[in-house]
Amino acid sequence: MPIFDQGYQHWDGTLSGHAWRWLAISHRGVRTQLKNRWTRMALLLAWLPALALGMFLALWGLLEQKTDDWKGLFTFLPAVVLLDPKAFRAEIWSLAFSWFLIAETYAAMILVVIVGPNLISQDLRFNAMPLYLSRPLTRFDYFAGKLGTIAAFLAAVILIPAVLTYVLGVGFSLSFKVIADTYRIVPACLAYGAVVVLVAGLFMLAISSLSKNSRYVAAIWIGLWLVGSTAAGVLADPNTLAIKWGPIVSLTNNLRRVQEVLLGTGEAFESIREAGEQAMSPFGRRSFGRSFGRRHADPAMKYNPFAQDYPWQWSAYVLSGLVVLSLCILTTRVKSLDRLR
């Protein structure tokens, strides 16, 4: 039977606008990644901190309602906080969300290394660029589509849980005043999520464009992450080098620094610590914060795990530089068809 016997019909359906073409790339990327067992497992594990945050906010809501059954769970807090929890609501919520975002940042790093390496390297390996660039798509659409895949997964572990737990916390507080007290949290989480997506997503895409082998890409990402974190720890250790700018060589440290500024966690922690020092904490004279055990060069900030010796702008500069570097790598590596085979 001749192969064209089935006939060919012309198509006159409606096309989507050009502005949304990148979404097709993201959509397919998400569908493909969700078929990966490791991605699904990482997603489930990444939601555990959100579960913990949700439980904490629910219990805190009960504590605010003077339900004493759960008070024993909050003995790490100064007694003055427990006596009037509503007065410290904003600080406690900021700290809780900060811990949540710190945990989710690590989860995001792992998710990115599972989802990201294949995104561009596979297209380079299988010479699939003509599939994209010979269609009504620009390189910007291509990058946006690939970034959208990473963004979808990071949103699933940072933004969506943050918003849902916030709503849950508001629900358990039984008061709309909580929104006035904690209005800063949701925008801060959204902004932080955008920063993580932009920095980690673009950086992963840039690395993915450097090699046709996705295993090398994953190895480079993990290597840079671990080496950066280790180097930051060594450089900033107050007992050894104590270099002020040491922490900024680590990607996660820089992200955390920006997050703490967005949520105002340093101030929130100090506020609770000072209140605790004015009144006795439930554990004798031990100050709130000592239990976190962070050593700090500045004695005044000795027990504040959120205090840093360097301005947050340094981290912002490093992250901005990383974004610019990633864009340079991407535009150089992913040329239009005239530079491809």
Binding site: D12, D123, S134
Partner: protein
């Protein structure tokens, strides 16, 4: 007009890929011929708006190649020479994805993918992973993904490269059907002249980034001097001997004889020779040059 280029120049460093190229081709099936480095691929990329040209202007389907690149790519389907299929994807999924990239809704793209896969003869293999496809199937899959959004023009870059004869014939039939029965214009780039001849009505020959020849294939294949093609019913060799005896120059090519008639002698000499040898003439026509000769003439005149 299918496309028109005026004074288009494109250089890669010191190498000039296109030199003041002027060409205008009507709608239909266009063959694009040229030796390696002639500028065929650069011209295709120029038409698709994938590269920035150094000088010149042009239009594809009435759209400017500088200002309406995305519109051109919306209206044109492109089948690249290289394999560009990523693994672990089902054929139907691949074609539907191509449709989505062209702006079709997910549901429409999937429905249309089934239709075009049926059309190209991959209906039975639509749920197989693309890595399990043969070379011919992959080529047809690429064509399906290029026509899924129903383009007005289809560009095929070396579509029969590396294919077995059966697969090659299928792709040529498909291309011919699209061009002649489905109203889709074709730009068919190939090194294989018989393939171009089998599919196209028009041809353009590029060499050194310039247009060396263009026109309707049948017009380009001009009559060669006073040479005639003759086929007889039974014994061609005996008939050739008879003609040689009459003072004519005869060559045998496949099942026909190529006979040169000197000035002053007419075809009646052939009939007389047939009567004398008791042979029946089944074919007698002036010989035309083949597309291969047209191509070689164009290239050699450029070199000269």
């Amino acid at each position: 007009m299918l496309f028109e280029l005026k004074g288009v120049t494109k250089s890669y460093g010191k190498i000039k890929a296109l030199r003041d190229l002027n060409v205008s081709m009507p709608e239909g099936a266009i063959g694009l011929l040229g030796p390696n480095g002639a500028g065929k691929t650069t011209m295709i990329r120029t038409l698709l708006g994938l590269i920035s040209i150094d000088a010149g202007e042009g239009e594809v389907l009435g759209m400017n190649i500088r200002s309406r690149r995305l519109d051109i790519r919306q209206a044109v389907g492109f089948v690249p020479e290289d394999e560009c299929l990523f693994p672990s994807v089902e054929g139907v999924e691949f074609v539907a994805y191509s449709g989505e990239l062209g702006g079709m809704r997910t549901k429409d793209a999937m429905q249309r993918a089934h239709e075009v896969l049926d059309y190209v003869g991959l209906g039975e293999a639509r749920y197989r992973k693309v890595e399990s496809y043969s070379t011919g199937m992959k080529q047809r899959l690429k064509i399906a993904s290029a026509i899924v959004h129903d383009p007005r023009m289809l560009i095929l870059d070396e579509p029969t490269n590396g294919m077995d004869p059966a697969g090659r014939i299928e792709v040529l039939e498909l291309a011919r059907d699209l061009a002649h029965r489905k109203g889709m214009s074709l730009l068919f780039s190939s090194h294989l002249l018989p393939d171009v001849e089998a599919v196209c009505d028009h041809v353009m020959v590029l060499g050194g980034g310039k247009l060396l020849a263009s026109g309707v294939i049948e017009d380009l294949k001009r009559t060669v001097g006073r040479q005639f093609e003759v086929r007889v019913k039974t014994d061609a060799n005996r008939f050739a001997g008879q003609l040689a005896g009459a003072g004519l120059s005869v060559q045998s090519k496949d099942d026909v004889l190529l006979v040169d008639l000197p000035e002053g002698r007419e075809t009646s000499v052939l009939w007389e020779a047939a009567r004398a040898s008791g042979e029946q003439i089944r074919l007698l026509r002036p010989r035309q040059s083949s597309l291969e000769e047209v191509f070689l003439d164009a290239i050699s005149s450029d070199r000269a």
